[in-house]
């Protein structure tokens, strides 16, 4: 368990996270967060999405700076390729969420990570999005993530880090479980 004499440093403030967990289990209303993004169409399949503010702990917050994400489609799709495709951005979200989780869980378990690299791949049959075959789903037919991790731990301990990070990951949950999506228009 983490203690003040520990020399393990993955750059994660576990004490703060554990403190938050303790505080929020007695004040569930403060745990209600709302994450937001605003997206504007540019041209063709190109859009720019900006992430700036979010709500949590009972009040509005801003990121230190606003972040913007260009999304487009590659030339294979007769587009201009001004950014990653939206499905690639989903992979970015999943890989970065799992990786953050691995670092946090490792810190909590007193495991020093030296390097942690993931490759992620989502398979897709585009007959779905093109409307060629209505039995083919639009989304990924499967996602594979491969981790290469160098850490001061046994193979089983490293496997357990990766498994625990999936168990606690928001994006893993978003991808593996259904979510109600409501879209309206002015």
């Amino acid at each position: 368990m983490t203690n003040s004499e520990s020399t393990v440093n993955n750059g994660v403030n576990v004490e703060a996270l554990l403190g938050a967990r303790e505080a929020l289990s007695d004040a569930p209303e403060a745990a209600q967060f709302s994450w937001r993004a605003s997206c504007e169409w540019k041209k063709g399949t190109h859009s720019r999405t900006v992430v700036e503010g979010y709500y949590g702990l009972g009040e509005e917050h801003s990121h230190k700076t606003s972040f913007s994400f260009d999304a487009d489609h590659p030339e294979t799709f007769a587009a201009e390729d001004n950014g990653a495709t939206p499905v690639e951005i989903v992979l970015v979200g999943l890989a970065s969420c799992l990786t953050a989780g691995i670092a946090a869980v490792a810190q909590h378990r007193d495991i020093q990570i030296h390097s942690c690299k993931a490759t992620i791949e989502g398979g897709m049959d585009i007959q779905g999005i093109l409307g060629v075959d209505s039995e083919v789903r639009n989304g990924f037919n499967g996602i594979r993530v491969h981790y290469d991790i160098d850490a001061d731990a046994t193979e089983d301990e490293i496997s357990a880090l990766v498994a625990q990070s999936q168990k606690r990951s928001a994006v893993y949950d978003v991808v593996t479980n259904p979510t109600n999506v409501t879209v309206d228009v002015n």
Binding site: M1, A163, Q164, N177, P178
Partner: protein, 416 residues
Amino acid sequence: MGSLRKTTTVIIGAGHAGLAMSKCLSDLGVDHIVLERGQVANSWCAERWDSLRLLTPNWQSRLPGYSYKGDEPNGYRSMPEVIQFISDYANFISAPVQVNTNVLKVRATEYGFKLLTSQGEWECKTLVVASGACNIPNVPKIAKNIASKLETFTPIQYRNPDQLPQGGVLVVGASATGVQLANEIHLSGRPVTLSVGEHVRVPRFYRGRDIKWWMDASGLLDESYDEIDDLRRARRVPSLQLTGSKNPIILDLNHLSSIGVKLVGRVAGMNEGSLQISGSLKNITKLADLKMDRLLDGIDEWAEKNFLNGEIGKSERFKTTNVDESPSLAIDITSGEVKTIIWATGFRPDLSWLDVPVLNHKGEIRHNGGIVEYPGMYLLGMQFLRKRKSSLIDGAGDDARFLSKHLRAYIDGSLT
């Protein structure tokens, strides 16, 4: 309604926990009554399926002043045997049990507590809640939408496969209840799909001994609530994936898939006529495999230190759980393939009668090792109340011994 009766302590529930407390209070000379909604060992009589046997071996059900004397210490009690055991204990300790007394309301008074029951009112200075951890089946919200389309059962309603229509059965939950029901229903000729959420995989036997022997001998079951890293989580860990049977087997997911039970992920939602299944099955089984190996590593270490290596079987590891490359992500409940759903998704206590402000936002009693936040009130029989074994019959004794002393000191005004 009778007149108001007074006693020092009312114990609610005449199961193993309430009776253990009754014995300890008698030993300390505390005047008390045990109120029981039905008969002694009521849940075991009325709310369990026919084939169920205790998950702990006979020798392990030790109650204050009482233990197993038969010639099958390693067997597992059937339900009639559990009922007999607990009733014999009630007689042995001459417990002051008032049966057929349903507690309808409990509120705090200046004196202590006032109870409204189906047999009149009681007033007491101290109260022990031993009404059980498994009164109400925890079914997910979507169960409501499904009830009209399929036969549905909770483990409290289920008795045996003959109750179910012919055709497919979806068992939701892969802890002790889920794997046992999946096994017997599949063997009855009804094709079973098992929806697997988080579970605790352990082998029934390891190195020639019952896993419960190892957990007891190595001190794991005696781990205390104030030494545990994440108590909130420890109190929610699902039941061990075990079965107690006449001819005991290792009833794990590999065994179930080998006999033809189909494994799918956790039920995550419902969309029109289709149950949506989580894509996390691989990770769920991986977590359980790794966790089992950690338990077995700990047992091996303990065996090594305690010079048991010559007397016991060789260390071994079990096959990792085998799941399909791409398990189904949806189950169509309108196709007729599945006729029945069984929700083996856990239980929670029924505290609807409790009108004392001690519940947290999840409806659980706030307590510190069984000492409830409200002075004079005590809790027993809950998961990891004071020790890892608190929810077992074998755990009630230690908890009752400690809490009865605290209760006595509270009455005497000598609490420090």
